[in-house]
Chain length 482, copies 2
């Protein structure tokens, strides 16, 4: 084990994740979990800000690739909800229901969206007439509601889930396949810009989305070993278009059902991944693109030189504020040390310290949050240096997280080894024959869920199935999950 | 009556508003009203885009004035909902309710927010400890849900209402008063930037927000004479802080209840006002800040010169696209005339026509959507000219709408005159003695609602009460309303 990974394991987030995380949520003004309805949380200003930025980053990419923003209702009718058989099976036990008397006194039930297929696709039926209407690509950023029966957990497992969902319709299966690739590329790009590392996995058939032909998932690593599914892409084939009767006139004049996809990107889970993958014992470490404050300037006041230091600080502030979200912390009732402590907890990427020495030497002292390194830089070069530093910091966050992901993956050849890896908060990589019996055995003996096989690369099994010893068909990843 | 107003009255939007509006919603891709749950509509790409832009314009101003974006849950408990007596009286008949069995089998009812006081203020109680925590200013852009018993109407009167709501808490009544002014200023600015004219009215006591000390409303004019309340600002005094026990330690060490405000800005109603105030018989006329397409370029192809015209069009497109949302309509299957028709309906502020003549003379022909004027401009001056044109167009929309507002206000000295004005789709301006009896009489005889007195200017009655003939206390505005 390298020294970096030993250091990581000694971090509180690895040894006592729940306490570390919950404390940070409230102290760093991310979320307040005290709202008196289970699974419903309040996103405080920093949590809401980060989600807003992530949303902007994602929506920009969606719109550049031709996805149209629309806004669909919160509710659907029981009749519409029930059209796709597998879908209703998968979701019916976990929907919130509004019971109401209609104007005529009859009882009516409205289903609150657990996802929006059953709300959007009746409209798709009205909109799609011919091949000229295809592809249709829409998206919206909304909350969906799922009555989770498992224990709820702030950001990871909530009943009110902020996400972006995109839904597309296509002429041919190969157009749909291309769309799967585009969706994966968009989500991968956003996660990359946030420095979040993940495994891109094709879920086993028994764990695909209710109504899908197949499902691809983005599983990000988490310090407590439970992988965190931050996004999914589902190829729906014609399952829904047949149920909702969405047909189009083809170029040759005949009619056919459209091929569909849906994909979702979970804002609260991405927020959780940002906190969990990058944070350390001092608190948040925020990627610059989403940090509410990117630079904090802290004047170190010495008796008799207060004015010089404040003037210099203000001029540095003016130089930086047009390029970065910059705060000059001029509070007088707390010490510079307390300010360091506070802004480190808040995860501000770069801290600028200014004292008499800096003024004398026409310098600035920069502190980067990821490595806690101090860098002297000449004032004339400041903007350029900070720009480089921000890029470097972002790259370091990304690479550090990626290295950790691969350290957490443990090759296991026996169920005992797999169980041990999972007990050690790791992800077990094992060979599997693809049978349901062995899947159940793996789950039971190893204590983790089969998350699926890599979708981005082909991994050929070089050993027999971990459960039955017969020839393996695939390499799969097994882990506990949220 | 001036010729402009005669022309306005002859417009289809004045003579047959409902048909004009409903057709436009679907044709200009604003909204689709065919979703099978009453009062729930789908916002299509242009409606969703305009709302997104309005939201950005508003949120930017809120954040600049220290309002923090947060995200609060959709639901509250029955117990929390019932704490403020007037509030529950005002809203209890129109809330959507989720009925559910708890894990222990007990029935529990969750109330879906008709507005978020009962969700936010229990959290305010946890967050506010001392004067140092004040003012607290938060906002969120969300949907609220009201089970309207009146007829629903797309954008104007829906059961799923997209809006921004801001909530603030203050130390003193005068801080709260100052906040009323700030809120009004923010909303007025956004409406001004959209060219929407309105009356700023203090609602009569019997029509104030449930739980407020007083309510200020922004009533925009509508072609069918029903005023459209687009925003409201409520001074809540200490009504809610006493109900939710929100106290703070004052500078002198004693404890007191906070003074509160809430204010809301309705996105779907502002969208309706943009369409209704600026549109004409050809379709939408969109203010540049929110137009999904700000400039459309239409090449006029002549046989043998297709390539020159397309090349010139493309180079004009490249000149404009960095400053404005520009579309080059190079569709080959429809005529330039059909393109003119289409983009006029979509409300694009500026159309650029390019044919061989323009190339020869190194010119560009601009068409402004508001006045339908054609302007020749030399190519070398293009960006400057378009910039001026956009500003001029925006100013014209604003002034035209404002002139119409004041034309629609009719001074009435008898109830018959008031009734006639309201029948003529106008707003009656009358003197009132402030008694409930006379209010009821006015409503009954004039056929309109008392919308209140001007808040921005003091208007002193120069005539007796229109209903009883006794001394009037105030000048009020009476109109039908959505």
């Amino acid at each position: 084990m390298s020294s970096e990974s030993q250091q990581a394991i000694s971090l509180k987030k690895f040894t006592n994740f729940t306490e570390w995380f919950d404390e940070l949520l409230l102290n760093a003004r991310i979320a307040d979990n005290r709202f008196p309805v289970k699974g419903f949380i309040v996103y405080l200003e920093n949590g809401a800000y980060i989600i807003k930025r992530v949303r902007e980053m994602l929506e920009e990419k969606l719109e550049k690739t031709g996805h149209k923003l629309m806004m669909f209702p919160l509710v659907t009718t029981e009749e519409l909800f029930a059209k796709e058989v597998e879908h209703i099976k998968g979701f019916s036990t976990e929907v919130f229901v509004i019971e109401q008397k209609s104007e005529k006194g009859a009882e009516r039930r409205l289903i609150i969206r657990p996802t929006s297929e059953t709300i959007m696709y009746p409209m798709f039926k009205l909109w799609i007439r011919s091949h000229a209407d295809l592809p249709l690509k829409v998206h919206q950023s909304v909350n969906v509601y799922r009555y989770e029966t498992k224990a709820t957990r702030a950001l990871y497992r909530v009943r009110e889930i902020p996400w972006n969902e995109a839904h597309t319709a296509h002429e041919t299966p190969s157009d749909a396949e291309k769309q799967v690739k585009e969706a994966i590329e968009i989500y991968s790009q956003v996660l990359k810009e946030l420095g979040i590392s993940f495994l891109l996995l094709k879920r086993p058939d028994f764990d695909k989305f209710a109504g899908a032909v197949y499902s691809i998932a983005f599983d990000s690593w988490n310090p407590d070993g439970r992988v965190n599914q931050v996004a999914t892409v589902h190829n729906l084939g014609r399952n829904f278009s047949k149920a909702y009767d969405i047909t189009f006139e083809k170029k040759d004049g005949s009619r056919g059902y459209v091929y569909q996809l849906c994909y979702g990107f979970g804002y609260s889970r991405v927020l959780a991944a940002i906190i969990a993958q990058h944070g350390d014992d001092r608190g948040l470490v925020l990627p610059p693109p989403v940090a509410p404050t990117q630079i904090v300037i802290i004047p170190i006041l010495f008796k008799g030189q207060e004015k010089e230091v404040m003037d210099y600080s203000r001029s540095i502030f003016n130089e930086l504020k047009d390029n970065w979200r910059t705060v000059l912390d001029d509070r007088e009732d707390i010490t510079p040390g307390e300010k360091f402590y506070y802004w480190e907890m808040m995860g501000v990427p770069v801290r600028v310290e200014i004292g008499p020495k800096e003024i004398l030497e026409e310098k600035v002292t920069l502190n980067r949050r990821d490595t806690l390194e101090r860098i002297q830089c000449s004032r004339s070069n400041l903007v350029e240096e900070v720009k480089k530093l921000m890029e470097n910091l972002m790259q370091n966050l990304r690479e550090r997280s990626e290295r950790m992901l691969y350290k957490l993956i443990i090759d296991a050849t026996t169920l005992e080894e797999a169980a041990k890896a999972i007990d050690n908060k790791c992800i077990a990589r094992v060979a599997w024959c693809s049978s349901i019996e062995c899947a159940e055995k793996i789950k039971e003996k190893a204590g983790g869920e089969i998350r699926g096989e890599r979708y981005d690369i082909a991994e050929h099994p070089d050993r027999p199935c971990i459960a039955c010893g017969q020839q393996a068909k695939t390499i799969i990843y097994v882990a506990r999950a949220y």
